[in-house]
Symmetry: C2
Subunit: 367 residues, 2 copies
């Protein structure tokens, strides 16, 4: 219901903007013609800056204890069956919160089915995964740990691993003081959600512009912003994350080739089994998009310029000029914010009770 509303409103918004003043529709006007005050005012009706503090979470508390525990869990490869893959393997703190891979390499060097989304600002998405199958980051966190092509672990082994290390047990107790049995798979997910809620990238050039700093964007970026709004990109890419809110068919106007839109991945249909959801995906959030290539759920497009041109054709039926593509790309580059400063956590010591990587579970010399 609320999602249907978001989608409808998104399309209505797009229609509204397609009727925007002609002046704003040309990418060719002289920079001197840009009215910053008006552009900032219109932009603020459609977008919000990234806050510097995490939001309130539904059913979870972002306490320092949960954030610190969540950070340790995020970096701990012993949550995977091989003890070789952690959350950070595919959502790297130094690469914009993803892995710059078409699809991630997981257990046994298997490739996952879809491009790994960035964890930065993900807390602001209406739901998680490309098909929105997880309501929030807490529910999402349980997926990769168990996915056979990702960390390939079981909740039982993950909990047994955590309980084998006194330092983890103590941190779970501190993070979940009201719980009689704090070390659980659910609390692991809660701690991971709390940590990820702190992974925000505020103060991008665009956010500074939204806040009234007229010099924060270059003239080229300002023209790109105007085109982003006037061509209708903003119909799906709006709000704080410029996306991540609604669900739309990939190929609303023209379906991309099977190289970019593999026919065997029918997107949200696999969640809702509703015909109208075939090849429907959650609109990609565009925060830090310039540093999270390659693009789309298939991860098949490596350059941002090509991604912009393809979106113009497939979603808007517009063959954007090279200048428009370059200007919109320049605007998108202004969405790269201050990256989170994360001190690498020192992880608890394994003990003789810590389960070994699955490949070595039968090791004879384990005491």
């Amino acid at each position: 219901m609320s999602k249907a509303f978001r989608r409808a409103s998104g399309l209505a918004l797009a229609a509204l903007l397609l009727a925007a003043p002609a002046a704003a529709q040309s990418g060719n006007q002289d920079v001197s013609k840009i009215d910053d005050a008006q552009l900032i005012k219109r932009a603020n009706q459609l977008f919000d800056p990234i806050p510097t503090e995490p939001p309130e979470l539904d059913g979870n508390k972002v306490t320092p204890e949960r954030v610190q525990l969540g950070k340790m869990l995020f970096f701990d490869p012993r949550l995977s069956a091989s003890h070789a893959i952690s959350c950070n393997s595919c959502h790297q703190m130094g690469l914009g919160g993803d892995d710059n891979q078409p699809t991630s390499i997981g257990h046994g060097w298997q490739r996952g089915p879809r491009n790994a989304p960035t964890v930065f600002n993900a807390v602001f998405n209406t739901a998680q995964f490309w098909d929105g199958r997880a309501e929030d980051l807490e529910e999402q966190a349980k997926g990769p740990v168990q996915a056979s092509v990702e960390m390939a672990n079981t909740p039982e082994r993950a909990v047994k691993t955590l309980k084998s290390m006194p330092a983890y047990v103590a941190r779970f107790k501190a993070a979940f003081p009201d719980s009689d049995d704090p070390v659980t798979f659910d609390n692991m997910a809660k701690a991971l959600e709390a940590f990820q809620a702190t992974l925000l990238t505020p103060n991008s050039r665009f956010d500074l512009y939204l806040k009234g700093h007229e010099a924060a964007l270059s003239p080229k970026q300002k023209r790109g912003l105007q085109e982003f709004m006037s061509t209708g990109c903003v119909g799906c890419h709006n709000g704080v994350n410029l996306g991540g809110q609604g669900y739309y068919p990939f190929g609303l106007i023209e379906k991309p080739g099977a190289d970019v839109l593999p026919r065997d991945d029918r997107g949200r249909f696999q969640v809702t089994k509703t015909a109208s959801d075939e090849y429907v995906f959650r609109a990609a959030p565009l925060r830090n998009i310039a540093i999270t290539q390659p693009y789309f759920h298939s991860g098949k497009v490596w350059s941002l310029e090509n991604a912009v041109a393809l979106m113009g054709l497939s979603q808007l039926g517009q063959d954007l000029s090279e200048q428009e593509v370059d200007e919109i790309t320049a605007f998108l580059q202004s969405l790269t914010g201050e990256q989170p400063r994360v001190e690498y956590p020192v992880l608890p010591e394994s003990t003789n009770e810590t389960p070994l990587p699955v490949e070595f579970e039968e090791a004879p010399s384990k005491r």
Copy 2:
């Protein structure tokens, strides 16, 4: 020559210590009989504490610019052919500087031939790798980047990758101001060495004891220290890293089974082609040994107690009692120092000129 000397001196030292006062040879004496002043004095003749500052490097300078660049390179998976493996994949900052794997998982999920050693305090080892085939960390750094079972890259692709990112070019210029062509494979290795030289773990309980803090070790640990010296462990495991200096046959007295000493890995013989170097390895440095299991070059022994018992038999011909094993293990646990505090580096953005992971080099949509 110098290595031959080190080895000879090591054995002489062992002989000397086997003739240590009888009082120090029994693991059963009452704690009240421990003379801390005497024990600290003897220990200081054999060991040195880990310093808090990196040492001078031969042919390299530990400047802030080189350390910061080296840290970025250490965490950058784009130095691997797959863009999925970084130095930190097998030498993790949160796991004692290694990966807690028997042997590491590398390119294509291949397992390497030998256990990954910790990078922490590695700068104090006389040479790098289990067989000492790299003279220092600069020479060592070039190995894994190219090894087909590790990062599987070529120097040419690595340099092309680094040169494709302006932020890297600027940092190489700052780190190597006197170089006309700063972005080279050699300078990459120099920066990695400079960063690793800062990965020190000072102020372990043992180091505090060496410095005269009598309460830093428990009575059990003090008995373990006495036994470590009196039984002859110290013959090979002495100096600042309690090892890492000399080369010794694994199985000096009694060869371990092929499960622990695979017959097809003849150790240093593969470097020197000298018969006397068959199954000879560099004595493992014991700093942080309690958090860097599993043990030995084969990584087949998971518990520190089992490793201690096996060393007693294979290197000293002594069937250590369970109490002696427990006390020596307790002493070894006192070698865990303060772990390095490392802020995760924000890596330079890939550009349209950055080579793609080898699997995707032919990607059609790359601009």
